[in-house]
Amino acid sequence: MRIGVFICHCGSNIEGTVDTAEVSRIARDYPEVAFATDTMYACSEPGQDGIIEAIGEHKLDGVVVASCTPRMHEATFRNTLERAGLNPYMFEMANIREHVSWIGKDREANTNKAADLVRMAVEKLRRNQPLIAKEFDINRRVLVIGGGVAGIQAALDCADAGLEVVMVERESTIGGKMAKLDKTFPTVDCSSCILGPRMVEIAQHPNITLYACSEVDGVSGYVGNFSVKIKKKARYVDWDKCTGCGECVEKCPSRKAPNTFDEKIGPGRAINIPFPQAIPKKATINAEYCIKLTKGKCGTCEKICPSNAIDFQQQDEIITEEVGAVVAATGYDLFDWTVYEEYGGGRYPDVITSLQYERLLSASGPTGGHVKRPSDGKEPKNVVFIQCVGSRDKSVGRPYCSGFCCMYTAKQAILTKDHIPDSTSYVFYMDIRAPGKLYDEFTRRAMEEYGAQYIRGRVAMVYPDGKGNMIVRGADTLMGRQVEVQADLVVLAVGVESAKNSPQLAEKLRISYDSYGFFMEGHPKLKPCETNTAGVYLAGACQGPKDIPASVAQGSAAASKVIGLFSKEKLKSDPQTANVDIKRCIGCGKCVLTCPFGAIKEVDFRGQPKAEVIETVCQGCGICSSTCPQGAIQLRHFTDNQILAEVEAICRF
């Protein structure tokens, strides 16, 4: 075998603390190494061309590149080998950047470690076999989880590209958080005017099947062939018959149900249609508060429903959908701010969240757009906004900045002035984060034209002064003073948190998530919309706090990834699958039991039971081969000998 070793400088990232020339000199003496050199940027075009030339010139049949993590450029260099006519799996990488040069300054130790890692790669490569990827056909259907603005954008882009889309939305209507907004920044245009038509498009698009009031119950299979179990939650209304007329909502006697769409600020009924432009515009019954379902009495809605759509016997239903790709667009939730007892901990009715205030501002809201204090319905004259409630705060475990609260608070300050001309808005902030196009001009406008009083400092206490108004006590660090504001209404810019039980969904999709529950992207800069799991993509705030423009952009980005995936005739399967050596297999069946994907079946070979791998189902985890007592089943590219070769490369020299 003739092996070529290429030690990358990666500019100064590796060369800074590793003597790459020395490593390539050592590598020349490794067994079966025919050529070794160091190169400035192996992954760059000249770098890759240099490798292709060396393969031709020295008639190499295997390549080792010592550079960054294979998780970033293994695919890049495999393509290089393919372009040079070699089998892409006759290639190994040594990670001498993230695992060597970047984690220590000791040049001699780093150089020595790099040489060792290259030796390990060479030893493994000497035992690599050429592998041919098999092809399998793709189910050109995509599942979009979450009907917020990001999910809507992804679904519409995929549908317009001719793909069949299945959208699953947990609430009874799509529209997510954006549907709850009155206006959006920085243009102050009406939220339902720009979102409404897109929601209608979802409902009317022939390629899109919408499952509202439903959740993903389980996902199995792999890229190109996922099988998804969707749980259609019981809504006790037959949506085929329901016309959304709203008769039932008016007559329903149970008035204590929480109105989750209006963020519990307005009255709620047991049977409810979230808002006039809801899609689908259907009624749903909240089982906990429906007198019929809890006490067996009433049933008013059943009596008066013109199209007798009420069905109290309705049960949850599981539907299976076969799809080829999944886009997770599950959005975010607001932080439970009641841990801040210094702001009343939820005891004071006139201390509300920004989303509740948005409902008060909204014409389709509980007060028809007239801003009224929840306590006594009076129009507030002094509205105090408190920023960073549950963001940038280590003491409540939320050290990150939620990104768009500064912007929507400026918008709400402007809207407050529009709604109540003689009102004054006060904003307690630490730093204004307004990075987008026309964002900063927008916040300046709130201060300059709309008279919002911006006070630089946090708020320590919000309390009633016993004489009927609320005192907001904060600091003005620019003035160096403690300050107080008599507030009629306090609006908290509550921080963003990952959507409820998104860790559970991540486990179903087998993608990883960070300690706050946000899904982990493939690479923070290079693959923001992909995950480490092929065929599962991310869009919107489920990947991290972001505003509407960024979410919409990610919706389109995720859609383009899906469209790109499905543009190929067939998908190449990863050839790193298990493989049974019939001679050694004694048919004990242990591997069949341990395979998480059921990718091994028992076959009869001349009267003896043997194991056989279904290559398209095998995911290449290798659990079978470490279970097999005979070592009969080996995972290609990670066989026992290959791994042990690396072990010996470390220990024997």
């Binding site: 007892e341 210094e342 901990g345 005891r347 309390y463 009633p464 002064d465 016993g466």
Partner: protein, 297 residues
């Protein structure tokens, strides 16, 4: 009712300015079966002055008492006074966390401190071991009709990491006990706002402002009385109420009870054992008014 015995650290003010707190604490604990075994020959914990001079000195002054308590063999030391509680807890926690600090403290003490007993406030034991429900069953004279405001003071439940009892912003333990005793507890937003603490002598203007705010808020809420659990807060609000009135030209006549006094009264204990006569602002009118309307009701 479990007969539980604790080491008891009364605190210096209990011998003088807050003797009624000391007396009523002993009476109530006796009545509800909490056994207080006073630490023999206990000494001052140094209170605020000590830790403003040096943390090792402050820990040594508290440490001596922790050592004596450990010898008594009970698993926990009780003290009614929040300032003593903070010093004992800080000393104990700091020594438990850092060996070097413990050695520095032991170098100041006659006998080095080995095991460090746990410390709790009497309020915590009354609330957790006894509990409002058990208390309600023992009430002989419910405080029905008495509107009170519960003032916890700034260090009884703060900082949360150290004191870890009740909430640091909106504590409710005294509220629950008072409600169990029949009183009506008003929502008091300044439960943990400082009253001026030890500045009464050197910088009285600070106490006039801060205690003035507390009395003003209690008054505007229509409270009949304020209930506290700290000798210094009680002194600033009761003994200095006259000074506050003249400084802020107000005219409050708000009795400032220790919660143990009201609990004792509700349990039917004799006035003498509660030291009600020791309070500056006469509490009798308030108490008589509720017992009067009891005959009527």
């Amino acid at each position: 009712m479990t007969k539980h015995t604790y080491s008891y650290y009364p605190g210096c003010s209990g011998q003088g300015t807050s003797m009624e707190y000391e007396r009523s604490t002993r009476a109530v604990c006796e009545a509800v079966g909490i056994n207080l075994d006073e630490i023999p020959d206990w000494s001052c914990c140094g209170s605020t002055p000590a830790h403003t001079v040096d943390h090792t000195l402050s820990a040594a002054l508290s440490g001596r008492n922790l050592g004596l308590a450990a010898k008594q063999g009970h698993d926990c030391v009780l003290t009614p006074c929040p300032s003593c509680l903070t010093n004992l807890k800080t000393a104990g926690k700091h020594m438990a966390e850092s060996e070097t600090f413990k050695e520095k403290v032991n170098r100041l003490l006659d006998e080095p401190l080995e095991t460090i007993p746990d410390t709790k406030s009497v309020l915590q034991v009354l609330f957790e071991d006894l509990g409002p429900d058990a208390l309600a069953k023992k009430v002989a004279r419910p405080l029905k009709g008495l509107k009170v405001v519960t003032y916890y003071g700034c260090i009884l439940t703060r900082p949360p990491g150290l004191m870890d009892f009740d909430s640091e912003e909106n504590p409710i333990s005294m509220d629950k006990l008072m409600q169990a005793a029949g009183a009506e507890v008003l929502q008091f937003p300044l439960k943990t706002e400082c009253c001026g603490a030890s500045h009464g002598v050197a910088r009285r203007d600070l106490v006039m402002r801060l205690s003035g705010k507390l009395l003003d808020m209690a008054d505007s809420l229509g409270a009949d009385a304020v209930v506290t659990a700290c000798p210094l807060c009680q002194m600033n609000l009761d003994l200095r109420q006259g000074q506050v009135n003249s400084a802020n030209n107000a005219s409050y006549r708000l009795p400032i009870f220790y919660y143990t006094q009201l609990l004792g009264w509700a349990l039917g204990l004799p006035d003498a054992s509660l030291g009600l006569d020791k309070l500056c602002v006469d509490p009798r009118p308030a108490l008589q008014s509720i017992s009067a309307n009891k005959e009527v009701a």
